[in-house]
Amino acid sequence: MVAESGTAVRADLPHRTMPRARLTVTDVSKSFSGRTVVDVDSLTLGDHPIEGLIGPNGAGKTTLMRLIMGSLKVDSGKIRLEREGRREIELSRLPAHKIAQSGVVKSNQVITDFEGLTILDSLLLSVTPARREHPLHLAGERATYDEHRAAIERQLDDFGLEDSRRVALSAGEKKLVDIIRCLLLRPAVLLLDEPTAGLPGEVTRKVMDAVEKLAADGTTVVIIEHDLAVIWRLCAQVTFMAEGRVLLRGEPSDIREHKTVVESYLGQGHV
């Protein structure tokens, strides 16, 4: 299951010391109907280009990502974004769209799309600046396309999406479009919630290559993934969550052999 060479490739990444955005989560809790689903004392994401977040179902991983993205509000605590040379931003005080504008973007676990919009529409939407989406600015379509044409076509070619002037039909296509939207934004922090779920093997490899390239260019990437081969291959740091808490953090080789992880998540006999 695990490609042993993955660690070696990861360690060689020259950008590992590149200044990159960091997310700090401090004393954050979130409850639903009296049940605490996230209770994180302290967690920093972004010391490494790509970090993994693993744990059994119901561990609070996706909820933590939603708290970071502002689609859920924290009950208490703070989530901050630190970027070198810029003022620290307290994300937990911002509305969701401001968080995205500050450079934190997430691809979705649940397949989601804009009904009625074509693939090209969907990609152009992600890169169109606010000034061109004004009700009195009705002539910016061609200019937006011309500015981003090369990047969009490169991504479409890389992922084998040939006809972008149609709506995405399959779940896999919608998932891919969701990921490409995130890649086009070149975010400071990219949160990927099960990015490879529902994608064929070849496309999964392309997604991972694209994520690695983005990380190499300075984006901090955090991945939730049940396909642990992806985690072991890409991540330099892995956080293990269970019952809403961060139980362990460390290098993949340490995490995968830790007794707690093996007993509560991986099971005996995992590779």
Binding site: S71, A96, A100, L117, T118, L125, S126, V167
Partner: protein
């Protein structure tokens, strides 16, 4: 005279409802704001204009008086749009329906009870065209042409919106608000802006109507305007640019002009039977379309064709 007064009035109503349906297309068809209080915003424009024009002793005369009153009435409708839009911003479809319908009802009640200003159930006269050709029928025809120009402008705007990033943003918000937010799109602000502008224009259409009829009656603030607008839009196709035009022509146009003008109906029908029959037929048309062609006669949005036309491929 080429057109008689009856036909001019009928055409005026059809063109005005096309304008309202086009604005509702932006709200409901693209952004999925289920405004069931169209008549409320239209009525705010109508009555604000009427009250300002008739009750206020302006130091200037037409056409400046008309322009000032029309601008203020349009702004009042826009302000109501901003307020109601803010109140319904986070509600689901049912909440928006009830909220906007409640607003329209409140406007009708205010127009009825504030007798000192609006004349209440007795109505209010004193409105006139901002020009005088010496012939009422010619004045009405000119006013119809002014309305046609205004609605053509609205149609052109809607056409351009479909081809602009702004239109794509509206569709994205209507389709999936959380996803649009996650891409950094200011969903609430965009919806508020749209609702304010379109409500203001609905108010302007109310101003146009007030000048045309020259007598304000609270009965005009009933459900009929909203119903005709919604039925026209849904029958034609709520997501297509021309859906509003086709739908209103096939429903209101067909009934108010073709049937009433060219079918030899008994004269006594015009008081009660025809208005009742109109609502019944509109209801039947709505049900048939929703059952057999839920997206309306013109069907899907077809962004695929539009993207190919704009960007090739």
């Amino acid at each position: 005279m080429v057109l008689d007064t009856f036909l001019i009035t009928g055409l005026f109503n059809v063109v005005m409802l096309i304008g309202l349906a086009l604005l509702l297309h932006l709200q409901l068809g693209l952004t999925r704001i289920a405004n069931f209080g169209v008549v409320g915003f239209w009525g705010v424009g109508l009555y604000t204009f009427g009250v300002l024009y008739v009750r206020v002793d302006w130091p200037f005369e037409d056409p400046i008086q008309f322009v000032v009153c029309a601008v203020l009435a349009t702004a009042a409708a826009g302000l109501c749009g901003l307020l109601i839009g803010w109140l319904i911003a986070d509600l689901d479809v049912d909440g928006v329906l009830v909220g906007t319908l409640g607003f329209a009802t409140a406007v009708a009640i205010l127009a009825t009870t504030e007798q000192g200003l609006t004349g209440g159930a007795r109505g209010m006269g004193g409105l006139r065209f901002p020009y005088d050709s010496g012939d009422v029928a010619v004045n009405e025809l000119i006013w119809l042409l002014v309305l046609v120009a205004l609605v053509a402008g609205i149609l052109a705007y809607v056409w351009l919106v479909h081809r602009a990033p702004y239109g794509r943003l509206l569709i994205a918000i209507g389709s999936n608000e959380p996803l649009a937010r996650s891409l950094g799109k200011p969903v609430t602000r965009t919806k508020l802006g749209l609702f304010t502008i379109t409500s203001a224009l609905m108010g302007l259409l109310g101003v146009m109507y007030g000048v045309m009829v020259r007598f304000l009656e609270v009965s005009s603030l009933g459900i009929e305007v909203t119903l005709a607008t919604v039925v026209g839009l849904v029958v034609g196709g709520s997501v297509r640019v021309l859906g509003a035009v086709v739908g209103v022509l096939l429903t209101v146009g067909f009934f108010d002009i073709v049937i009433q003008s060219y079918l030899p109906l008994p004269a006594e029908w015009y008081t009660q039977t025809i208005p009742l029959m109109r609502e019944v037929l509109f209801g039947v048309a709505l049900i048939l379309v929703l059952v057999f062609r839920p997206l309306g006669l013109l069907g899907h949005m077809r962004r695929d064709r539009l993207m190919k036309r704009i960007h090739g491929g």
